[in-house]
Symmetry: C3
Subunit: 296 residues, 3 copies
């Protein structure tokens, strides 16, 4: 499994360059007949479809793994499921799982795992697409100020993206409700009040409130959240002239961000979705090349 | 989105001719790599599979959109979902939705929408396959008498098919339970008692009782419905020698139509299903040609 | 539909040879555009994915039949569903169904049916993959002793595999809880206590307890079952030097078989899964050749 944190600077640069090439129309097809399965134990249309398009654009064969019908429900372990896929000829399993570090129990697997999001752990393909979106805008990441706002504590996006952007030379600042922060979250950046943050950053990443992950129900209304911590129209006006707005989606319109800003000039939110396909193509290709496969 | 009612007579003829060619074995493949998603918010095997086969026969790449796992369940609007599909590179979304005129809220979408049935609105691909089935039988539609029988009020099939057949020159007559008729339904045809209707028509289209759409439970038993309004063996004997029986399926055997008639000599019910693939190929091809794509 | 019991010895040999060739890397693609649907009315990841990979390796087009959304839920019969598939151009339907001999009601179907498991009836592709696994090990089946252990009464695997192995010349012995045996089960072999059986056999097939099929809840705990009827580490030590362990999977680790034995040197369990793809390729190819299609 590719772990961004273990890749060298050159390896990361290669993935980013490849993703950039794909965004410019480069076509690359596997020379062999390769089978891929997408195992999404957490619901997701966006990411799953994005992977599926990426896989098909690379000429891979996608098989339809139906999580809810799998033998996992007959008591089979995840490792046995993966070994079964291996046995029937699957080369890559793309996995999203609610369990943080689900991949720890898959060390004996011989097929390649691509992490499509693990609990509150990591989401490496999101990190690559975020970095790609910033590079398309500013040419590079080094020296930029990036704000990540919201439920940082429960966000694998915050984790992965902040880690990668820092390695690429960005200064990462956080904001959001104080009760979602703790010391551990601030390894990759510092905390700032929202009204200050918006003035300083080159890229502002608004996170989705992960209601499904909150153990205690937050007692705050949507409009109150927006006013206190979200991106209102007033705050947007204070942003630097070239600063951009990002969001991993799906968006809670009117909560994290004012409805009217989702498609404003600064917004790169739909651009990020486009880039998701290119980032995933680059990571899948790197994963398969590591296994000895080659591409046209 | 292609709306049959807004197409010129030539455009409609072109779609019917193309569908006829496909029914005779014509092969046509997209010259580009094109991605299509089928979004069926109402269950359907027949229509969904028919579209899937049509898409694959045209060489399109079908991605697996899982309605029940989509972010629509996280509160995302249909428009945001469609824009997401757009962003990840989908060119055509085939949509069936229980909401009549669901497409009104998708005006800002840039990808092409194909209506696979909207509430009690329209079902244009059904209209084309019905017309194709009649043309295969009689050479053309002009001057024919067509009967549409059953729950006309709740039927998008009745709506679309009667509209198209009238434009092609047919006289459309309706029959069925009086409580399902109102003035608005009779724009495209006139009402006749079933026992008279069967004697006069060239094509008799029996509709499925849309139990799922009835707001008040109908207090009528299956065998009673068949006897009063359905196609019994007695009524079938009174039909003109060359008259044909049609049904959009799935069939409630023994309700709309006597079990024994489903596969009788007059029945074109399974022929209609075959034609469904050809009609959908023609409409998908026309939709994509409108976007500038070409086919072999 | 191919019924192994009705095939000649030559036909069976041809399927086994073909499966062996596929296991050695032979590539074979359909020369025509052929559509296949997999209808799994009982949940199964392993077998369904195995069929899907087999189909795609043969160059077939797989359409996505969603059982739970099908018109069967609107009261349509299985035969009408199959005729619908036929009408929209599907050539082969791979069906798994909880109803034993479901195929009896499909005699009027013109498309080909492949039985992927019917109730407590048969599971022919499993029989072929089991035979293939044994042949890979011992060169042939003739003269070997094979033990099948467990819930023989409720097992279509026991039924199909024992029938095929006997035709190929093996002696089949059964073991397991006495209350799961009756006279009818013993047509293809004789009953032996587990402690004797393990010493004698060349291949030992441990069956999965089919909890979902038991009408009366069995009052026996997992560890007790293992000790009395399962393959413990002690029993494994008594096996002949070259004897192999097989299991159709999914495995209840620690019930039919000690956890530690699942991947021991004697185990061919994951090998069986690999062979499943090759066995299914051979059967699908034979089925389609019977319809007049040819392969490269």
């Amino acid at each position: 499994m590719i772990k961004l944190s273990r890749l060298s600077a050159e390896q990361i640069q290669k993935i980013l360059d490849e993703a950039m090439d794909f965004s410019k129309g480069k076509i690359s097809k596997a020379k062999d007949e390769i089978y891929v399965a997408n195992l999404f134990f957490e619901d997701s249309t966006r990411t799953k479809l994005s992977f599926e398009v990426a896989e098909k654009k690379l000429g891979l064969h996608v098989v339809d793994f139906e999580v809810e019908k799998s033998s996992l429900n007959k008591g089979e372990t995840l490792l046995d499921t993966i070994k079964t896929l291996e046995a029937i000829g699957i080369e890559v399993a793309v996995i999203r799982h609610s369990k943080t570090r689900f991949y720890d129990e898959l060390k004996d697997a011989k097929l390649s795992i691509v992490n499509a999001g693990d609990g509150i752990g990591y989401h490496p393909t999101q990190a690559v697409l975020d970095a790609l979106t910033i590079i398309q805008e500013f040419g590079n990441v080094d020296g930029l100020k990036v704000g990540i706002v919201g439920d940082v504590k429960h966000s694998r996006v915050a984790n992965s993206t902040s880690g990668l952007l820092r390695r690429l030379g960005a200064k990462v600042h956080f904001s959001g409700p104080e009760f979602w922060f703790d010391e551990a979250m601030l390894i990759n950046g510092t905390f700032h009040p929202m009204d200050e943050l918006v003035k300083e950053v080159d890229a502002l990443i608004m996170l989705r409130i992960q209601n499904e992950r909150h153990q205690e129900k937050i007692k705050i209304k949507s409009d109150e959240y927006l006013k206190k911590y979200g991106l209102t129209k007033e705050r947007e006006k204070k942003m630097k002239p070239n600063a951009i707005i990002m969001h991993p989606a799906p968006i809670n319109r009117g909560v994290e961000i004012d409805d009217a800003l989702v498609e404003c000039d600064r917004s790169r939110i739909f651009k990020q979705m486009q880039n998701g396909v290119f980032a995933r193509m680059a990571i899948l290709k790197a994963t398969l090349e590591e296994r000895g496969y080659s591409f046209s």
